[in-house]
Symmetry: C2
Subunit: 270 residues, 2 copies
């Protein structure tokens, strides 16, 4: 089911600024029994984005209700999209936008604990994403550069390391990237490009409790090859181990990994 | 009138990738008597974009027919938008996309020769656009950074100079930027960010005939202040003179400007 401003099977105006200008935000939610996991993190990012873009506020209760309406399976992924709605021609936004909300559900991974999943095979995306601190971190809908990076994947890859236009490794294509070096976790900053993932935020907040220190830095390829383990995080997969698609000696040893208990805690977090 | 895949008053699917991911291209056309001005330039840019994004080809005759259908006034501006259409969830594009075409008309400037227009008052946009050679030049629909730059204009400005995330002046917000220094025209390159305007392309091709040399370079603010004259170009305004909104001693002297005859030729070009 898809809801457009609460209407089942609604359609969207061809003058919607989300459609014409990528003028919108979205959240990808793992929903269990109608409740989005880590909702507080999603809601915080979304409301920060709404403020940054100059959108009016939206009602949390109304949105949660729409999410529950589309989440008809016990476990599913829900995409919540909010655009600036219709506007006059050109870049200038309307003074009082009437936002468009689109809420749709799709299948989730089966709900097995991450320990039972295979490591992701990780390539190197051939197309960079842009550098722009003015929009970095936000999960906005102007995502053509991620589409182009995704198109550059080769067969057999489950994910790909993404670099920015200045050559810095900034994330995976569909999630944030992590290197484990002993009890240190390294993840690239998201203030120049990339998306500030909700699972990334959760790990930053909880790592210490599991005995890890987190540093934010751009890893060069040699460091990625040398790290004790690699992970990718997003709402769909939680924190999942990854190995480079070529010449990686690191086996999938998730169950023996020092990060295992944190990965399970993230998987089960509310 | 608006046509969606040729249908008057059509609506768009909430699963359209243009809406969800900014996965599309557009052209803004000045249409006179149903015919888009400089169509060859628009079509060349659009087909280059379609190829770059991996979209299938579209029919030129069909598109021109739709443009003529919506262009019911003797002079109007038509926006042609092409998105990748519906797709599965996520960034990965469908193997065989069914594109969405949206064609809509709006008012043009009155068709007075540019000599009779006032100079644009030009501010400095406070928000940068990103750097990404992978998408630079294309007129794609992932335009949130232009929306944000446009939002940063101050009252009284008609246009604003846009810089990129590395601080380089790359264009105006809604068009390309030009500095005249004697018989030399300077315009920023569009291979790192910005849009390769059709009027920019026309000037690059025709300047020599009017006795101008063109160089592509990033002008620093001092050079912008010192130039003999400033212009902004786009499909709507052609080539229009501009003065800085604050402290600019250069009067609007378009009729006496060495560029006058070229501006008129562009205005009248087919």
């Amino acid at each position: 089911m898809i809801l457009v401003n609460g209407e089942p099977e609604g359609r969207v105006s061809p003058l919607d600024r989300g459609l014409l200008l990528g003028d919108g935000l979205f959240e990808t939610l793992r929903v269990r029994q109608g409740r989005p996991q880590l909702w507080a993190y999603h809601w915080a990012r979304l409301t920060r984005g709404l403020g940054h873009l100059g959108f009016p506020e939206i009602g949390e209760t109304e949105v949660l209700d729409e999410i529950a309406r589309v989440a008809t399976l016990p476990a599913c992924m829900v995409r919540l999209t909010v655009t600036r709605g219709e506007g006059p021609r050109g870049y200038a936004p309307p003074a009082a936008p009437a936002l468009t909300r689109i809420v749709s559900a799709g299948p989730a991974l089966d709900d097995a604990a991450p320990t039972e999943r295979e490591s992701l095979s990780l390539g190197w995306a051939a197309v960079p994403i842009g550098v722009n601190p003015a929009l970095a971190g936000l999960k906005h809908t102007s995502r053509l550069e991620h589409v182009m990076a995704r198109r550059s994947w080769q067969p057999g890859w489950d994910e790909a390391i993404l670099h920015d236009a200045l050559g810095r490794v900034v994330s995976a294509t569909q999630g944030n990237l992590w290197l484990r070096e002993g009890r240190t976790l390294l993840t690239p900053p998201v203030d120049q490009s990339g998306i500030a993932g909700t699972r990334r935020a959760w790990v930053l907040e909880h790592a210490e409790r599991f005995g890890f220190e987190v540093i934010e830095a751009y890893p060069d390829p040699a460091r990625i090859e040398r790290a004790d383990a690699l992970y990718v995080s997003n709402a769909r997969i939680g924190m999942t181990p990854a190995v480079l698609s070529e010449g990686d000696k690191r086996g999938p040893a998730w169950q023996d990994d020092p990060l295992y208990s944190m990965g399970i805690a993230l998987h089960e977090a509310d």
